[in-house]
Every structure is written in structure tokens, then in C-alpha cells.
């Protein structure tokens, strides 16, 4: 249980030198089930993209243990649901890591797709065009794609958005199943009650790690208040992060410039590190 699946060392992520996640340190243990929580704009999706290898860190490192395969499920809004394909084609995409650009679909793969669709409750939906699915059915199809990927690390970005209770329950059962099989799972979620009942670990983000560890210790009134008070606005004049001073980008800034995100830089990990902003 104790070996690392993903290691963050001083990871800073962002766009155009504006950081979305500051100086994240810590280890996602193999076999852990972690909820990533925080307000809109707190850097949750950015962090998932970095782990999936879609975003280069501005500084620091995000290391995925060698040989571990990642299955990444983007937010539904990133997909084009009017695209003319069938449910089976969506799930079929999950075979990409094994099959690549030109590989043929083997009989075993077709069986795998059928099993995955049955497991998410979409048996018999193979030929349905995706634009006829409800939001919940579409999310089930995407979970079937994750199943087909047979990955070791599973990253789900807001899988429960605009999904009804029955579907959420079914998807949670699938996630619990992955956890039971020893897979490493990280899920971006907004529903704190759901996080408390389902996820043993939680990471609370507010552009910086506010707290990370056992869910009960992470989601306290104190930490949540801290997380709410972060600077959400994209500020063009935001001061340069003091930890970067000395780099070429920050060299023209005077040292000791007042730091706009407080004492974010003495990182304990992975124990809870609540502090008043």
C-alpha cells in the first residue's frame, strides 16, 4: 500500500506564467482512492491534466511511476457530443494504448468492449449514436472506455456533473470496484457529502494545496473556509511568486515583495496542513 504511484515535487502549473497550482508536494500512493476538491478555478482540472501528461509543469515535477498506465477521463464539456459516432466507437477508443493507430481490433477486444458496456449498464447500446444518449448514459459509456483501457491509474475529471442520483450510485460502485482491485484512482468532485462517504483520501486545492490526507481531517470547517478565501480572479498584476525569485522571469521584481498567496510554501505532506489564509 505504501509505494508511490504519482509523486509531485514542487509542482507549479499554469498558463502564460500565471500559476493555477502552486508548489504542490506529495505522493499519491498506489492503490489509494483520492477525491480532489476545491472551488471552480482552484486548479483541479489543471492538476489532472498535468498527471495525464497533457500539460507541462511551469516548474517542479510530476512523476508517474514507470510502467503504470493512465486512463484519463476529461470533463464531459471537452467532448463533442454531436459528433456522429456510435457508443461502441467511443468505448473502442479505450483500446488505443494497446492497439495504436493502425492495429486491428481482435476478437478479445470486441469481447472486452461488450463486457465493459454490460458492466456500466449499457448492454445492447452498442449501435446507438452518441447524440441520442442522455447525459448519464453518455457518462456510463465514458466509464466503459476507462474499463477497456485496463489502466493502473485512473483520473476522472468531474464525472458526476449533471448526473442523476441513480447513475452516480452506479458509477461510484464502479469506482469502488477499481479501488478494491488495487488501482490508483483520483476523482475531481464537488459534492462534499459524497466525498466524505466514498473517498478515504482527499486533496483540497485553492490554487495551492490547502490540505491533503484522510478525508475526515481534510474537510474541516476551518480548511474549507481557507479554501474559499483564495484569489479566484485572474489578476494580470499578480505579484511574482517569491519562491521563483532568482529565475530570469522574476529577476526584475524586488525581493521581499509582499506575497499574495500567503504562507503557501512550507509544505508538509501528506499530512493535513490546514492554516488560516
Amino acid at each position: 500500500m505504501s509505494d508511490a504511484a504519482i509523486t509531485f515535487s514542487d509542482l507549479t502549473l499554469g498558463y502564460n506564467s500565471h500559476a493555477a497550482v502552486h508548489h504542490l508536494n506529495g505522493v499519491v500512493e498506489a492503490g489509494s482512492l483520492t477525491a480532489v476538491v476545491g472551488a471552480n478555478g482552484s486548479g483541479k482540472s489543471t492538476l489532472m491534466k498535468a498527471v495525464a501528461g497533457l500539460l507541462k509543469p511551469m516548474s517542479g515535477k510530476c512523476r508517474v511511476e514507470a510502467g503504470r498506465r493512465i486512463a484519463y477521463l476529461p470533463q464531459q464539456s471537452e467532448l463533442d457530443r454531436s459528433f456522429p459516432v456510435r457508443v461502441v466507437d467511443i468505448v473502442d477508443m479505450g483500446l488505443w494504448p494497446r492497439r495504436g493507430l493502425l492495429g486491428r481490433t481482435a476478437a478479445r477486444d470486441r469481447a472486452l468492449i461488450g463486457e465493459a458496456l454490460a458492466a456500466v449498464g449499457l448492454a445492447g447500446f452498442e449501435k446507438r449514436p452518441i447524440d441520442t444518449l442522455s447525459g448519464g448514459q453518455f457518462q456510463r459509456a465514458l466509464f466503459a472506455r476507462v474499463l477497456v483501457q485496463e489502466a493502473d491509474i485512473i483520473l476522472l475529471d468531474e464525472p458526476f456533473n449533471a448526473i442523476d442520483a441513480k447513475t452516480v450510485a452506479d458509477l461510484i460502485a464502479l469506482i469502488r470496484g477499481w479501488h478494491g482491485k488495487g488501482l490508483t484512482v483520483m476523482v475531481v468532485a464537488h459534492d462534499l457529502d459524497l466525498v466524505r462517504t466514498t473517498f478515504p483520501q482527499a486533496l483540497l486545492l485553492a490554487r495551492r494545496p490547502v490540505a491533503w490526507g484522510e478525508t475526515a481531517k481534510v474537510l474541516t470547517p476551518e480548511t474549507l473556509r481557507t479554501a474559499r478565501n483564495f484569489e479566484e480572479a485572474w489578476n494580470d498584476d499578480a505579484p511574482w511568486c517569491a519562491a521563483d525569485n532568482g529565475s530570469a522571469r522574476a529577476s526584475h521584481e524586488p525581493h521581499g515583495h509582499p506575497h499574495h498567496h500567503g504562507a503557501a510554501h512550507d509544505h508538509a505532506r501528506p499530512a493535513p496542513m490546514a492554516r488560516a489564509g
Partner: protein, 289 residues
């Protein structure tokens, strides 16, 4: 009937060439149009068609009405605009539709300026509207080459192209092919438009690219079928356009595109998927699920 439909193509060499050229173009350009439409870049095809003009004009100014220099010039101009617009979209805050519009307008103005510096308006008309009835062997081999390259690329990169349109973030998480495939696709668009400007002209070649694709969307829900149907519609439009132009003495390029336009309007009215009549007809019965 024979006189009406077959004999023009049997008796006249220029009609045979026109048929061969436009069919080669339809086979390659129509599937490209399907992907342009599905990526919501239907108008980008139009913009790219304009963007090719200064390159073709430069080739024309330096070497006269010659196929090779005009083609190479068109390819260069198209690539510059595609990469320039893509780079502005990627590295600045501006979105691709705005940067594409800016680059193609600059390019078009430059082209019109260059053509009018030397050469009469007749030459300009030739570049803008082409002349499918005067295709020579070199132009035909060029069109054949473009068709082969396009179909080969589509066949090899099919899976990546579909994934790139449908779920680009997922594709990037499992493969490095995403960005290269996007640029390969833009390259194919430019290639087909450059091929098209000999036969139909820069302005009308995009019509043969987009109209069959847009029409096919109303009939099927699968990409493969859509591409096949678009090619079929494109071929039909070429045949009917050439025949109409032969019998009625009308210009051939617009006749081809207008034929495709008729199919599009009919499809928008009568198609089985999301077309007008199907949406507004009120069925007496409905299924329970």
C-alpha cells in the same frame, strides 16, 4: 437519352478530361469536407481557398499561366496562412476563427493586388473561377496525385482524425499524434484546394468540398458512411454540372457547385437526420423510449 447523358463525354476529349478531373477532385475533397464540417471549420475551408490566391498569383506573375509554379505558390501561401493563423491562435489570446479571418483577408488582398499589377481581368477570372474544360495532362496527373495522397492519409490516420475531433484531450492522453494530425489535416485541406483551383477555381473548389459534406450530414449518423455519401453526391454534382454546362452553354465550375447546392437544399428539407421536414412533421405515434 444517350445524346443527352453519354454522347458529350464520348465525343469530346475536353469533356472526358473535365469529367476525369472533377471526379478525382470529388473523391479526395469530399471526405476532407466532411471532417472540416465535423470540426466546425466549414468556413475555414472558404478562408483557406482565398488564402491560396497570392501564391497562385505570384506563380502566375513570374511564370505565366503554368501549372507547376502556380500550384507550388498556392501550397506555400496556404501553408503560411494555416501555420500563421494556427500560431496566433496558439500563442496569443485570440481564437482561431479571428486569426484565420485576419490572415486570409491579408492574403486575399495581396493576391488581388498582385494579379492586377500585371495581367488582365480575364486572367484574374481564370484564377478565381478556374476552367474545368481546359485541363491538360499535367493538371490531370496533379489531381490524381492529390487524390492518392489524400485517400492514403485518410486511410492511415483515420482513427486519429476521428479521435482528434471527438475527444482531443483523450487522444493527447494516450498518444502524441494529436497536434501533428491537426496540421496534417490542414495540409490536406490546402492540397485539395490547390488541386481544385485548376479545375474549379479557388472560390468554387471549396463549394465542391463543403456542399456534398453538408448534404450528407442530413442522411447518416456515421462518419464512414458520411464520407462515402459525400463522395457520391460530389460525383453526381460533377456529372450533372458538366452536362448542364455543355447543353446550356453555361460556365462549368458554377454549374457543378450549383448542382451540389441543389442536393444540399433538398437534403436540408428531406433528409432523415435533423432535416426540416422530419423535424416539423408531427407523427401520430411515438415510441415509448
Amino acid at each position: 437519352m444517350y445524346d443527352l447523358l453519354i454522347s458529350p463525354f464520348v465525343e469530346f476529349g475536353f469533356m472526358q478530361r473535365a469529367l476525369a478531373g472533377s471526379l478525382l477532385l470529388a473523391v479526395a475533397a469530399c471526405p476532407i469536407g466532411v471532417f472540416l464540417m465535423l470540426r466546425r471549420m466549414s468556413l475555414a475551408g472558404d478562408a483557406m481557398a482565398h488564402a491560396i490566391l497570392p501564391g497562385a498569383a505570384a506563380g502566375f506573375l513570374l511564370f505565366g499561366l503554368e501549372l507547376v509554379p502556380m500550384t507550388i505558390g498556392g501550397l506555400i501561401a496556404g501553408a503560411v496562412v494555416a501555420v500563421g493563423a494556427g500560431a496566433v491562435a496558439r500563442f496569443t489570446a485570440q481564437k482561431e476563427d479571428a486569426s484565420m479571418a485576419a490572415f486570409y483577408l491579408i492574403s486575399l488582398a495581396l493576391g488581388v493586388m498582385m494579379v492586377s499589377l500585371r495581367g488582365s481581368s480575364v486572367d484574374l477570372l481564370h484564377i478565381l473561377f478556374g476552367s474545368v474544360l481546359s485541363l491538360d495532362d499535367a493538371a490531370l496527373s496533379l489531381l490524381a496525385g492529390i487524390a492518392v495522397v489524400t485517400l492514403a492519409c485518410l486511410f492511415v490516420f483515420w482513427r486519429a482524425l476521428v479521435a482528434e475531433c471527438l475527444d482531443p484531450l483523450f487522444l493527447r492522453s494516450v498518444s502524441r499524434l494529436g497536434p501533428p494530425v491537426h496540421f496534417l489535416f490542414l495540409g490536406l485541406v490546402v492540397l485539395n484546394l490547390v488541386g481544385g483551383f485548376q479545375a474549379l477555381g479557388t472560390l468554387l473548389s471549396v463549394g465542391l468540398m463543403m456542399l456534398p459534406a453538408a448534404a450528407a450530414r442530413f442522411w447518416t449518423g456515421r462518419v464512414v458512411t458520411m464520407c462515402g455519401l459525400a463522395v457520391a453526391i460530389g460525383i453526381a454534382a460533377c456529372l450533372s454540372g458538366l452536362l448542364v454546362s455543355y447543353h446550356a452553354g453555361l460556365p462549368s465550375g458554377p454549374a457543378i457547385v450549383l448542382s451540389a447546392g441543389v442536393v444540399y437544399l433538398a437534403s436540408a428539407l428531406l433528409g432523415t437526420r435533423g432535416a426540416l421536414v422530419a423535424r416539423f412533421a408531427r407523427p401520430h405515434r411515438h415510441r415509448t423510449a
